[in-house]
């Protein structure tokens, strides 16, 4: 009987975000943990290299593949040491910077470009949208690895260029989703209402259509985050993309891979961090879906027992 919910005139409706976003965050425990974890990650990304840069690159062949969970080499070795005896914990912390830069950079870039093109394709005349869609097809069937080889061969492997490569390959996802959603939303009544009021196309697209489809895109983006991190690791594993002495989680995983049978921790910890980061992003995004939607927000405002 959802009808009742919709029809009953609220006695005294709660003004939106009365408890503030923090309050709503607290209402969803999973999201809270996720947020905390991500804050830590971002912190590492920002200050990790400054704080632990030397510890992370200090080689010590005697501590080679040192086993985790012992303090005899000091706290930094709590997660063990890698093939050159560098402590894993600080390495993971330091690697956060490149990893987040690459992932965030690539996701953000592909998100922006893809969504914009998608909006155009979805709202503009036939020909233009056709052209854009064909472009998407081309990119989609263009082997990402070849692209990587080309870009990184012509330019040189660097975080920046890696972002370009990964961004290009991910554009179609956002492009196609956005377009599909726009085609649906543009038929909604309130869009026509805006037209009647004389709203410009620009305004309709960005003020009325975009907010409605944003949550979907954000969800995709969070899942893509993991994808990009792993793609990046696959590239380094194939000898293209980020290479030592630069470090990223993906690179650490692919380097530790050959030790999986002898020293599992080399690949395990960075792998774990990737998984945790992805899951946190996902939990947070599903929280955001609710928090950003005025018609859902109450779930959080009444203490999250329905959330």
């Amino acid at each position: 009987m959802s009808a009742t919910t919709a029809e009953t005139t609220p006695a005294k409706p709660t003004p939106p975000a009365k408890r503030g976003y923090l309050g709503m965050l607290w209402a969803d425990k999973f999201a809270t943990f996720a947020a905390i974890f991500l804050i830590i990650v971002v912190f590492c990304a920002l200050f990790g290299p400054l704080l632990l840069g030397d510890a992370a690159s200090g080689q010590n062949l005697r501590a080679r593949n040192a086993a985790p969970f012992t303090l005899e080499r000091g706290f930094l070795y709590i997660l063990g040491g890698d093939a050159l005896g560098r402590p894993l914990l600080p390495r993971i912390v330091v690697a956060a910077q490149n990893t987040i830069m690459v992932a965030a950079g690539a996701v953000a870039a592909s998100f922006l470009i893809g969504a914009t093109l998608g909006l155009i394709a979805g709202y503009s005349r036939k020909i233009l949208s056709e052209v854009i869609m064909r472009l998407a097809d081309v990119i989609m069937s263009f082997p990402s690895l070849l692209l990587a080889v080309i870009v990184l061969y012509i330019l040189e492997p660097s975080v920046g260029n890696l972002i370009i490569v990964l961004a290009i390959t991910r554009i179609p996802i956002y492009l196609r989703t956005t377009r599909a959603e726009v085609l649906e939303v543009r038929e909604r009544m309130f869009v026509q209402a805006a037209q009647v009021m004389g709203a410009s196309t620009f305004r309709i697209v960005f003020r009325h259509i975009l907010p409605v489809i944003l949550p979907t895109l954000v969800t995709i983006a969070t899942l893509d985050f993991a994808f990009v991190m792993l793609a990046e690791s696959a590239l380094s594993f194939l000898g293209i993309g980020i290479q030592p002495p630069e470090i990223t989680w993906g690179l650490m995983v692919s380097q530790g891979r050959q030790y999986l049978t002898s020293a599992w921790w080399l690949a395990f910890w960075p792998g774990l961090v990737i998984i945790l980061t992805t899951m946190s992003l996902n939990l947070l995004s599903s929280w955001m879906r609710v928090a950003l939607d005025p018609t859902q927000r109450w779930r959080l405002e009444i203490g999250g027992k329905n959330a």
Binding site: S57, P157, Y259, T261
Partner: protein, 499 residues
């Protein structure tokens, strides 16, 4: 077959591995790199040679890699240098090709001419580069080969020339015909290659009746396959996987790793800087850590089993203080020591490559070099390794060189002559020594090579020699096979025993 594998045994019976296990006279060999071609005239390429050299296609002579017997007869029973530059080979009688045709001098002549043809890209021909060779058929079983310049090591050169029937077309073939004990019976690209014993082989019949080659690029998987009994021999696994005394055999694999320096670019043009570089690297530290115990510190670009290898050369000691001093001296004399130097490594060049270069980069940085490590994929590596060299700033190229042929001649020209494609130096004395050594024979040859090695290492400080590498082979218990220095480039099934 291991008992715990019984559960899957039933299903495995259908698989190649299963077949290998079922009949014990068959073996399965798992290789890291797939074959693009099964072409005799490409058999100097290690991944191809490993399958067909002396198994399908034989050579006139072969190098004794197990003892130190030097060059041994194979299809040629004997040979002598009749006059200067001309060698006479007496061929074995009663040898037939797998297609039934009989083997004679014409075949040898054709085999050589085929390598020289411009309708293919036979790799063997590179070993006869710059040599004008005339093959003259005296009679069916006698052949004169005249070379200009004279080739004192002609017999050795003949260890490389795989013999095909004179009917063989110039283009690459897909069904190789040879005089060897085995024939190619099945080739499923991407999956496996199968050799089977032929009944009319001239020599003594090997124990192994058939061999199946499968390809897995992943080291761990190769090792696992022998462990599970899916394969009998994994000729090369990484030291990390080689943790089973009973199964794993270490062997010098004739590869030598070194840092190639371009002497034409500052600061590498300064001997002190090159010396500092050598002193800065703690080679001992690698052994038994990143690299296996068995690896040897290199004083020459060819392995110790090569003639002319100089035992008197002292490896560079690890002396960071001295290195730093040298750099400071050089700097004082206006050498741009602090220019950033690119250290180029190739990903997956050898197991632990990345770690090795990371460590070296760190060591060099410690003594005051300004190093920028770049790990690149094979194509890009080639750009740096071969001439024309990149000129924008100094570059150190980490590379690995393979010479299992017993004579330095196959290495020295390319790596050290002013004309050599990968040579970073241009030094008359070196060029002269190479020329003379190449032309010389016997002890003189040996002496000249030794002199050259010492000169390059101590005087010129041509490069940063690192290690003679060892490989690991994993061999199932019921197989009797010991890898040799040549195992990288040839794997004679005839040398495999079953117990």
């Amino acid at each position: 077959m291991k008992p715990r594998y019984a559960l899957a045994g039933l299903l495995l019976a259908t698989t190649t591995a299963g077949a290998a296990l079922a009949q014990d006279s068959e073996v399965t060999i798992v290789l890291g790199e797939e074959l693009d071609l099964v072409e005799p005239c490409m058999s100097t390429r290690s991944n191809i040679g490993r399958v067909i050299l002396q198994n399908i296609s034989e050579t006139l002579t072969e190098l004794d890699v197990r003892g130190d017997g030097g060059v041994q007869p194979r299809l040629a029973e004997s040979w002598e240098e009749t006059e200067d530059g001309t060698w006479r080979f007496h061929l074995r009688e009663g040898v037939t090709f797998s297609d039934g045709s009989s083997f004679d001098a014409e075949d040898v002549k054709h085999s050589f001419e085929r390598t020289q043809s411009d309708q293919n890209t036979c790799e063997i021909s590179r070993y006869y580069e710059g040599i004008d060779m005339q093959f003259e058929v005296v009679d069916d079983l006698t052949l004169d080969i005249t070379a200009d310049p004279a080739q004192p090591i002609m017999p050795l050169l003949m260890t490389l020339l795989t013999i095909v029937p004179s009917e063989t077309p110039m283009e690459f073939v897909r069904e190789p015909v040879g005089t060897g004990p085995y024939v190619l019976s099945a080739w499923n690209p991407g999956q496996d290659i199968r050799l089977e014993l032929r009944d009319d082989y001239w020599g003594e019949t090997p124990e192994v009746t058939a061999a199946t080659y499968v390809f897995r690029s992943d080291e761990a998987v190769r090792a696992a396959m022998v462990e599970t009994g899916e394969a009998d021999i994994a000729p090369s696994i990484s030291v990390i996987e080689a943790d089973d005394e009973a199964l794993d055999h270490a062997y010098p694999n004739s590869e030598t790793t070194y840092l190639r320096l371009d002497h034409s670019v500052a600061p590498m043009d300064d001997a002190r800087v090159r010396e500092a570089l050598n002193l800065a690297i703690d080679r001992e530290a690698f052994l038994g850590t990143i690299l296996p115990e068995g690896a040897e510190i290199a004083t020459a670009i060819v392995p110790p089993t090569t003639i002319g290898w100089n035992p008197d050369i002292e490896p560079w000691a690890f002396d960071p203080e001295r290195a730093t001093e040298l750099l400071e001296e050089a700097e004082a004399d206006g050498v741009p020591v602090d220019t950033q130097i690119r250290l180029i490594g190739r990903t997956g060049n050898f197991p632990g490559a990345t770690e090795v270069y990371e460590a070296i980069a760190a060591m060099l940085t410690d003594v005051g070099f300004n190093i920028d490590l770049q790990m690149v994929e094979v194509a890009e590596h080639e750009q740096y390794y071969s001439k024309p060299f990149v000129t924008d700033g100094p570059v150190i190229v980490g590379a690995q060189h393979d010479n299992s042929r017993g004579d330095p001649v196959f290495s020295m020209f390319f790596k050290y002559d002013s004309e050599g494609r990968q040579s970073g130096i241009s030094d008359e004395k070196v060029d002269d020594l190479i020329d003379r050594a190449t032309a010389a024979s016997g002890d003189e040859r040996t002496a000249l090579w030794s002199e050259l090695f010492a000169y390059l290492h101590d005087e010129v400080i041509a490069d940063g020699l690192l290690f003679h590498m060892v490989g690991f082979a994993r061999v199932a218990e019921d197989i009797d096979f010991t890898p040799t220095i040549a195992t990288n480039s040839q794997l004679q099934l005839a040398e495999i025993g079953l117990n």
